[in-house]
Amino acid sequence: MRTVETPTSPNRSWWVKIRVDAALLVRLVRMTISYATAGRRIRTLYRRAETAGEYVWVDDLTEPAQRLK
């Protein structure tokens, strides 16, 4: 799983920091929601494939999985 890195500037002003932190917070909330929704669908598909002896193709799942970043 990818860590979300914030653009950092050593001496950025407080309001820039608040904006960057807010953007990160929104991103993390969206990531958590995607894990619970799109991620759940992917996990279900994967478990079914495991049971049935079939495959899921990770490159097909890239688009929904990328929402977890």
């Binding site: 990818r2 860590t3 890195e5 050593p10 001496n11 950025r12 960057v20 990770v58």
Partner: protein, 325 residues
């Protein structure tokens, strides 16, 4: 603490219900297995950058199928890592005695929770290709994992412990970087689990935290491989530590524990030539699918004889004495 060697019971078979419709380039090829010329390493799997990597789809899939216990640590870690960098005090503390400063930094790191601390120079070997950092020194930090929790490898419970310790050691790095910036010197924390610009294992080896083991991870005298790493990069003038020799190669050459216990058979029994130097290397293409299937595996580092609590110092003493005979 379990003072015994861990033997994983019934690890899952290395068969997979996931695959690539369009397989990526071999990770071993990207890593430079068999290449005799030196070059800097290339990112393959984990990254924090915006550029998609060759094995990105599998990394995304790995994140998606990870249990919630892992995800919550990843989210919390990402949130705390917003403080990796920050304002540097305008009043710079003059440093005359680099060795005394290094001792002070190590004490501070230990006070913040680090169990292992070492200092080294930032060289090309610890930076991925295409990455640069405006820092000269690196403080490598190590923190041990709970052996009772890690006895559950390769189950999700162990994965949660790994992420928990990554979060703790990252927090230590963030606090240490902040305390250096308060002295008026630039410093930035590099927290894991995802590699950013730097490679933590070569950094830890160079900083004297341990040696590279057959399973491709750092082996320390104090905790074996049962540890997680983070780092602080800085321009604070510091005396550097030398790499250590605790006898890891002496044992790894004969020991086959991790080779035998690795379910996908990813660990080479001999050193390999990788990007111009001979070193221990793990077959990426065999290791990573199993790593994904088992939420991070970690069998090799737990079965390692060095990871048995309290065994490292005596083992090192025996191995070094044997060499002298």
């Amino acid at each position: 603490m379990t003072a015994k060697r861990i033997r994983p019971l019934d690890p899952p078979e290395p068969t997979y219900a996931f695959g690539y419709r369009h397989p990526p380039r071999s990770g071993n090829e990207i890593n430079g297995l068999g290449e005799t010329e030196y070059r800097r390493p290339t990112q393959v799997f984990h990254s924090a950058g915006a550029d998609p990597l060759e094995w990105q789809a599998l990394d995304d899939f790995f994140g998606t199928i990870s249990p919630w216990g892992v995800l919550r640590h990843v989210v919390a870690n990402a949130w705390q890592l917003r403080n990796t960098d920050g304002p540097v005090s305008h009043r710079q503390r003059p440093i005359e005695d680099f060795a005394a400063m290094a001792d002070e930094i190590k004490q501070t790191a230990r006070r913040f929770g680090a169990e292992l601390v070492g200092i080294t120079r930032v060289t090309d070997d610890v930076l991925f290709d295409g990455h640069t950092v405006p820092y000269e020194s690196a403080i490598s930090l190590g923190m041990s994992m709970d052996r009772k929790e890690m006895a559950h490898v390769p189950q999700p419970r162990a994965a949660v412990e790994v992420l928990k310790v990554y979060r703790e050691v990252s927090r230590t790095a963030i606090r240490l970087a902040r305390s250096i910036r308060r002295m008026g010197w630039p410093a930035r924390a590099y927290g894991n689990p995802n590699s950013t610009d730097i490679l933590h294992i070569p950094l830890a080896v160079s900083a004297g935290l341990g040696q590279l083991g057959k399973h491709g991870s750092t082996i320390s005298k104090e905790f074996g491989s049962n540890l997680r790493l983070a780092a602080v990069l800085t321009n604070l003038p510091l005396a550097i530590d030398e790499p250590i020799d605790i006898g890891v190669d002496d044992l790894c050459i004969k020991c086959r524990r991790c080779v035998v216990d690795c379910p996908p058979g990813a660990i080479f029994n001999e050193k390999q030539v990788v990007r111009g130097s001979e070193k221990w290397y793990v077959d990426f293409d065999k290791c990573i699918p199993y790593f994904v299937k088992t939420d991070g595996c970690a069998i090799c580092i737990q079965v390692c004889p060095w990871s048995v609590p309290g065994r490292g110092p005596s083992l090192s003493q025996q191995l070094l004495a044997k060499r002298d005979r």
